[in-house]
Amino acid sequence: MAKVWVYAELHGGKLQTTALELMAKARGLGDVEAIVLGVGAKAAAVVLGKHGAKVVHVNEDKAFDDFIAEPAADALAALHEQQQPDLILFAFTPDSRDIAGRLAARLGKGVISNAGDAAAADGGFVAKVPYFGGAKMASMRANGKPAIVLVRPKSFEPSEAGGTAEIKELAVSIGDGSKRAKIVERVAEASEKVKLEDAKVVISGGRGMGGPDNFPLLEALANALGGAVGASRAVVDAGWVPYSMQVGQTGKSVRPGVYIAVGISGAMQHTVGMKASKVIIAINKDAEAPIMKMADLGVVGDALKIVPALTAAVKAKKG
């Protein structure tokens, strides 16, 4: 059996769903050991056991919470030295990207990033990665051992496997040389009413909304539908709305029941974060926009007129 590692991310002591998504996949690829670092690791290890980890390596040193990437890269490199895994799975998230890149460079290995799936093939591992702006899907083979693969969030569905993990203390001392990029403050900005990632309906706006002043139109529709508002990278970069609302490759991945893209052209950067939605509705003044080719319903027209009319109609229907 292949030795498969899952790097399980904690945020403020809370095990991230992405770790459980990776567990669901990893179980089918070999014997799974998870690594979870920082305050709360032991509690998280129990959950990882239920999701199929045979062994969970833990270390609750606060340095893992307080410093970017280097302590975790040290711990993983030290454990790699002893265990020589065949595959290490990371989530394609900011924290894991920082760690995976450092680890790979230290081990002198390649990385397959932004993967949508991974499979065992001919004694190694092959991952599926979007290519040529997402028009193609490349099968990419990792040439080194370990294969290091970063998988996009929401690629797999978490499910319990009903086991119990052996919990092992990962012995590593984090020297001052790795305590360099220090998180000195955490600032939460406006909290969302319905979390974008969990919303059953997502209404996202792009450049076609004309300006930030028109985003309340989307809020009103979201309120009427009990959904959340998202945005394209272009309008986040332009400063219209905060980054927390960004859907796409560098933002959040969503798969709601209904996704309504308003004034969004549909660049790969955006669609990779929403194309798994069950139903997609696009409202755009350009019939040739790429988003129209993937929408279940594409409406060519003026979003600033259609959205308020739709909100009124939804309210009327709901009574």
Partner: protein
């Protein structure tokens, strides 16, 4: 193997900005109808890198110093460097070698590290990810190979003596993260609005130095690639549904779809 810390204070900040020439994100699709790569496609300086250059220039203007652009790419990538020089960067380094065609993230990071190390910069600024590759792996690899800490996804950067402080964008806000120079910073596209090159800047850029080096001069060997593409298939495309002009019935059509999806 770490970069040496500079002894002088922040009166001079030596800044390296990594830049890349990419297919123009605003031009037509990447692929011809027969799925081959459109070879005559326009190439431009990566828009994310323009923001990195702008941030570098603003830090230089505030603290004094030098902005050096380092790029890996074919000969024509000089155009991308030249654009950054016309914005105000001081000089450029282009690593160009036939052996680098198809380089993966690790080789790219090794090559950039070899070119950057002798410059002994205080700050290395990278875009969080490139517009074309979007894997975001080169910056953390480069930080590791340079032996410096990484301050990532910065939407704001402050330099205070040898302390660098950033606002690191997170899903629900930001973290304040700090480290001592030398550091590598990755910046978001929202960090700074890139300036337009002035005519004076464009003229001045013509006489600025772009040093061109090959792999042998850097002492880097290509080595085996970390990963190999075994096959390409058409991405699973969603079927296009109905496309309708809004002739006044659009709201009803949308309501119908919402009703079928049981959200109204």
């Amino acid at each position: 193997m770490t970069l040496s810390r500079r002894s002088d204070n922040d009166l001079h900040v030596k800044i390296v900005v990594t830049v890349k020439q990419v297919p123009d994100p605003n031009s037509a699709t990447l692929l011809e109808p027969d799925h081959t790569l459109a070879r005559d496609r326009e190439v431009v300086l990566d828009p994310g890198d323009e923001c990195g250059i702008e941030e570098g220039l603003q830090l230089k203007e505030a603290h004094g110093g030098e902005v050096i652009l380092v790029s890996m790419g074919p000969e024509r990538a000089k155009d991308a460097i030249r654009k950054g020089l016309s914005m105000g960067a001081d000089r450029g380094v282009l690593i160009s070698d036939a052996q680098l065609s198809g380089a993966d993230a690790l080789l790219t990071a090794r090559v950039l590290a070899a070119a950057i190390k002798p410059e002994k910069p205080d700050l290395v600024i990278c875009a969080t990810e490139s517009y074309d590759g979007s894997t975001g792996m080169v910056p953390p690899m480069l930080a590791e190979l340079l032996g410096v800490p990484q301050l990532t996804i910065a939407k704001k950067v402050e330099v205070d003596g040898s302390t660098v402080r950033i606002h690191r964008q997170t899903a629900d806000g930001y973290q304040v993260v700090e480290a001592s120079t030398p550091v590598l910073i990755t910046v978001t596209a929202g960090i700074a609005e890139p300036r337009y090159a002035s005519l004076k800047g464009i003229m001045a850029a013509r006489s600025k130095e772009i040093k061109q080096v090959g792999l042998a001069e850097l002492g880097v060997e290509r080595g085996e690639p970390g990963e190999t593409i075994e096959g390409l298939a058409d991405a699973e495309a969603r079927k296009a549904g109905a496309i309708v002009q809004d002739d006044g019935t659009a709201v009803d059509r949308i309501l119908q779809v919402l009703a079928e999806a049981k959200v109204v």
